[in-house]
Amino acid sequence: MIQIFHVTKYYERRPALTDVNLQIEKGEFVLLMGPSGAGKTTLLKLLYCATPLDEGQILIQGRNVARLKPSAVPYLRRTMGVVFQDFKLLPKKSVYDNVALPLLVQGLPAFETRRKVMEALKAVGVDHRKESRPAMLSAGEQQRVCIARSIVNSPIILLADEPTGNMDAELAREIVELFKTINARGTTVLVATHNRQVIEQVGRRVVTLDQGKVVSDEGKGL
């Protein structure tokens, strides 16, 4: 599903990732750990083509990401759901419209869009705020909207960057359960997190990065 070979990424000649190798099979649930600045976000960004690769190869569903034409990138992104560390919600659109966006982009019929959006909003528990603008939500609510958006189009791959950073323990547990359910339906899930509770709850493969290098890869194939 996701194959990362000898990937190196520099930011202004400073390496953010150095010779990273990682194979993630279809249907896996992988946790990405590591201290602040280890390169977790950078690795996820490479996967959804938000930043260019300097060395190595990344294959997603067999396609070489580096060789992708710019016009093909949107179609790759549509097969993924991404929970951004900084949410990236459209400030002038309602919660509903924000979550509907990935479906709108794909041209889904209106009634189906409606059903899926409401389902996603209910799954994260912010359906009662669907008319609000993101700025009118608390941080945890915004994060949940972002999660709803990432799962609304039933992605093949789900990438989540610190998805429970603004949530209390109870809520975090629910979100992890949600991810596990989605994973059980066949979606490959990759979650970057600092939250020990999340790691224990998932109890699956944990890849640890430090200073841009993979320093451990535990629980593979569990």
């Binding site: 949107p74 990236k88 002038k92 982009v105 794909q106 041209g107």
Partner: protein, 299 residues
Amino acid sequence: MKRLIHFVREAVANIRLNRTTTLIAVATTAFTLACFGVFLLLYLNLRSMATSLQSDLKVVVYVKDGTPPPGVSDLQALLKADPGVQALAYVSKEQALADFRAQFPEESHLLQGLGDNPLPASFIITLAPAYRSPDAVRRWADRLKSAPGVEQVQYSRDWIDNLNTIVGYLELAAVGIGTVLSAASVTIIASTIRLTLFARRDEIEIMRLIGATGSFIKIPYLIEGAMLGVMGGAVSLAMLRGGFELFNARLGMPGRFLGIDSGFHFFSGQVAAMILVAGLLLGFVGSVVSVLDLGRAKS
């Protein structure tokens, strides 16, 4: 089709949501086009004034003294058949004398001592519009000079030349100012639209990350740009109309003194429509530029 509805709805939503920028973009476009419009209005009115002054041009064909009546009739027939002649009036020797007396009562003693009437008979000719340009008048007059029975062809060369110069200047100024104003309009409107989009580049980036294609993101902006442009055009027309009426009510009088009692005219429907279209195109081009710009900024 569904897409198009979405795009238009999105454009309208953007216009509504971004009140400040919309207002500024429309105001800027309106004022820019209004500047252009004031100039256009002035130019068109001056041109039509010049044209109406040109129609005042009379050419006098003096008949050779001693031409017998049949010769005069021949000349009249010749002139009537000439495509350059729109209207003609015959002034006999007697009438010429009477006219002179009436016009210059003080100088009439100059003619007192003369036994014979020294003034010649003449045809006063109004030229057809196509023959009114200074060059055409000159050519026409030169051609007629050699016709039988013609003593001399007279027209106010100064007047023609002055008018020529004035129209020439007008045209020159029109090209000059028109160019500057067009360039300014394009730059200003494109800049404003660009600035409004620039303020939204984060949103555009987010759309991209969600998997929106370039055209999906850009088309609403193009539509928005065109809409802003048309709105600007409409506002500028309203402003021009208002300003024009004010101007006309207050200061329309001098026109009559100059003998142009038709007064000033506002744009014809066609020109007004062209201004709207210009607004639309400028807005559209403005957003095309901005959108290309955004495309370059981030893959």
